[in-house]
């Protein structure tokens, strides 16, 4: 289950990347994403994905197996997206383009191939950056940093945190509802009633959570952060390094 794969251990959180401000990492991810959108060349995403993975393993202390298991499904999807872009590209119908491959009625033109590979690599790079972010970031610290460093309203940040914490519970809700249907003699599978049940449970859980949070004076005014998140040299170093790498990658792809 995806939720258990995203379990972050203390060793990852105490690593250099783990101690980097989540807001800094988020900013880097966004800057890299914008950078990737500027080019169709296959080299920059390759470099960025490679650097993200190497940093995750070396600076983030992510166990290689966990990184692989987290990224495998998204990378498979990236390949599927790339291939379908190749096969269904408009360039394949254009007789002036060079033919790269012909399989029966399917013709793949050179520009279609390049575009498909480019898309595939970009999706893979985005997944690598996102995976490394998720696997080195403590969700509580993310909320703390969003509130203290990015001035996100506390009500939103901690509400989202509570909702994130409830995801494993929804997976259990769904499993139980499906079992409940089966033991009542109803066909297994995806009945619309399941979603109604799931929605009811989610709303009830949210209600209870809101009551529990209000009972503890949440949202009642000024708040003292228990854990302070401050900008550090680590953030500056990681940020500078990330910008430099993006520049190198974009130059390499000119």
């Amino acid at each position: 289950m995806i939720v258990s794969r995203l379990q972050v251990e203390d060793a990852q959180l105490d690593s250099p990347l783990g101690r980097t401000s989540p807001v800094a990492k988020l900013a880097i991810a966004i800057v890299w994403l914008v950078g990737l959108a500027l080019t169709l060349h296959p080299v920059p995403p390759l470099i960025l994905a490679g650097v993200a993975l190497a940093a995750g393993l070396a600076l983030g202390g992510i166990p290689p197996l966990q990184l692989g298991r987290t990224l495998a499904p998204v990378w498979l999807a990236a390949v599927a997206i790339g291939v379908s872009n190749m096969v269904f590209s408009m360039a394949n119908g254009d007789p002036t383009t060079a033919t790269l491959l012909r399989l029966g009625p399917v013709r793949i033109a050179e520009p279609a191939f390049i575009a498909g590979v480019g898309i595939m690599l970009r999706v893979a790079a985005i997944a690598a950056v996102g995976g490394v972010f998720a696997l080195t970031t403590d969700s509580t610290r993310l909320a703390d940093a969003l509130v203290q460093q990015a001035r996100v309203p506390a009500r939103f940040a901690y509400g989202a945190l509570a909702a994130y914490g409830a995801i494993p519970r929804f997976a259990e809700d769904l499993a139980t509802l499906r079992q409940a249907r089966r033991i009542r003699g109803l066909r297994a599978g995806w009945h619309p009633r399941l979603f109604v049940g799931l929605l009811v449970l989610a709303i009830r859980h949210a209600d209870r959570m809101a009551v529990a949070m209000d009972a503890r004076a949440f949202g009642s005014g000024a708040r003292t952060p228990y854990r302070q998140v401050r900008w550090t040299w680590m953030d500056a170093a990681v940020g500078t390094g990330a910008v430099a790498i993006l520049a190198i990658a974009l130059l390499a792809g000119r």
């Binding site: 519970r169 079992q179 959570m209 209000d214 503890r216 009642s220």
Partner: protein, 464 residues
């Protein structure tokens, strides 16, 4: 009703299922009206101020609330953040928070767990963490609504010990709603007994209430301390054919660490088996494997001569029944009437009216109600009714008696008795000692996925 609670004392509220105990608790915690729409008559004062005009913030400053389900009230990922949460919201100075967090954790017996993730704690520890979170801002009043309902015996005992220490230290006034009377009554300085309509039967010192109103409370279906049910299940018949068996069954969620390890187990017609053991021992998982709701990683299960995990749902439902621990997670429709009739044959529908009346949920009153808006005890009985009405020969129940008042409990026992007489077998995972004593003919104890004890009730009772 009118009632004053002295500072530093414990008020225990008892009453039958659906008498409005939880509503009273939420009112005391300042969440009704306000967070939850309702009409309120009369007044609730905290330290002389009207709670309804204090507003949620004012009330939250003076009242700590602990609910039944630890999973629905722990907000943060780690223990220390959870305790600090209420203090952050009240804008305590950071140094004061740092000093207070370890102190409160120590008070509830969780010292040294600051960095632990609360979801990896046991249910009992989670509930004590909820108490710590509520207690941290030093509220004048601590309200607890059935805090032990989801806990095993060890967890319940530790929680009650924590409350007892709070009372000793006069750290807060406590309002406690609790069905485990033998644990709760010794703790109480005052007892408030409610009847089924929510009117007070009596209020006062525990021994005076017991002396004056024992009969009235019994009549309302309230459990009294040290008292047994009026009836037990009749003597078991000789075991019949084996109805369900497992051979070397192993199972782990997501192919992880096994929760059930190489279990070989069989149950014959007429047997009543209590599955006991701490939270997380694998009781519920074993139950789901036996009725084919989970498929073992290794080994095999046989029910009615077939592998239940491969049976079509309709066939499975004819042979086996399973009642889940949390009623609301198994409701599939929007009204009580639809819920209990879901998927029944015409013949089975004929039993619905009588069964619902015997379980205290007569359809003339409950037909159109939402299953989600029942009290805890009523929801439990509806979930039982949905399965009992089919009269399955293998009946697996997960915590069937939690939240049950005396009438609900005795109604359930009578129905089980009739059902088992016809040759069905009962397997019940339970923390309820009373239920084990009143019902079980055989006790199977699990620990960390293994069966560590399996013996007839008479011998097990001697050990306990």
């Amino acid at each position: 009703m009118g009632l004053d609670v002295e500072p530093g004392t414990v008020l225990l509220i008892v009453g039958p299922s659906g008498s409005g105990k939880s509503t009273l608790a939420l009112t005391a915690a300042g969440l009704i009206p306000g967070q939850i729409p309702a009409t309120v008559e009369g007044a609730l004062t905290l330290d002389g101020d009207d709670a309804t005009t204090l507003g949620p913030v004012g009330v939250a400053a003076r009242v700590g609330l602990v609910l039944q389900d630890p999973g629905a009230q722990l907000v943060m990922e780690r223990v220390e953040d959870e305790v600090a949460f209420g203090l952050e919201n009240r804008a305590w100075p950071r140094e004061a928070i740092r000093a207070r967090v370890p102190q409160v954790l120590d008070e509830v017996g969780l010292a040294g767990t600051e960095r632990a993730r609360s979801r990896r704690l046991s249910g009992g520890q989670q509930q004590r963490l909820a108490v710590a979170g509520a207690l941290a801002p030093r509220p004048g009043l601590l309200v607890l609504d059935e805090p032990t309902a989801n806990l095993d015996e060890q967890g319940s005992t530790a929680l009650i010990a924590t409350l007892s220490a709070i009372r000793q230290a006069k750290a807060a006034t406590i309002v406690l709603i609790e069905h485990q009377v033998d644990l709760a009554w010794p703790l109480a300085d005052m007892v408030l007994a409610l009847d089924a309509t929510g009117r007070p039967i009596d209020v006062g010192k525990p021994k005076n209430v017991l002396r004056r109103s024992a009969d009235a409370m019994r009549g309302a279906g309230i459990w009294l301390p040290g008292e047994n049910a009026a009836q037990r299940l009749g003597t078991p018949r000789d075991p019949g054919d084996v109805l369900v068996r497992s051979e070397g069954v192993r199972f782990g969620y997501d192919r992880g660490e096994p929760v059930v390890r190489d279990l070989t187990f069989r149950a014959a017609g007429g047997e009543r088996i209590a599955l006991v053991g701490p939270n997380g021992a694998g009781k519920s998982t074993l139950g789901r494997l036996l009725v084919g709701l989970l498929r073992p990683d290794h080994g095999k299960v046989e029910l009615a001569g077939r592998d239940p995990a491969r049976m079509p749902a309709a066939a499975l439902a004819r042979h086996a029944g399973y009642v889940f621990q949390e009623p609301e997670r198994q409701f599939l429709t929007q009204t009580v009437g639809d819920e209990v009739r879901l998927g029944l044959t015409a013949q089975e529908r004929g039993h619905v009216d009588e069964l619902m009346s015997r379980l205290g949920l007569p359809l003339d009153r409950f037909e159109g109600r939402s299953p989600y808006r029942l009290s805890g005890g009523e929801g439990r009985r509806l979930s039982l009714a949905c399965i009992l009405v089919r009269r399955p020969e293998v009946l697996v129940l997960d915590e069937p008696t939690f939240g049950q008042d005396r009438l609900g409990y005795e109604g359930l026992l009578a129905i089980l008795d009739g059902h088992l007489d016809q040759g069905a077998c009962l397997i019940a995972a339970t923390h309820d000692r009373r239920f084990v004593r009143d019902v079980a003919g055989r006790v199977v104890e699990m620990e960390a996925g293994w069966i560590v004890r399996d013996e007839p009730m008479t011998a097990a009772e001697d050990v306990a």
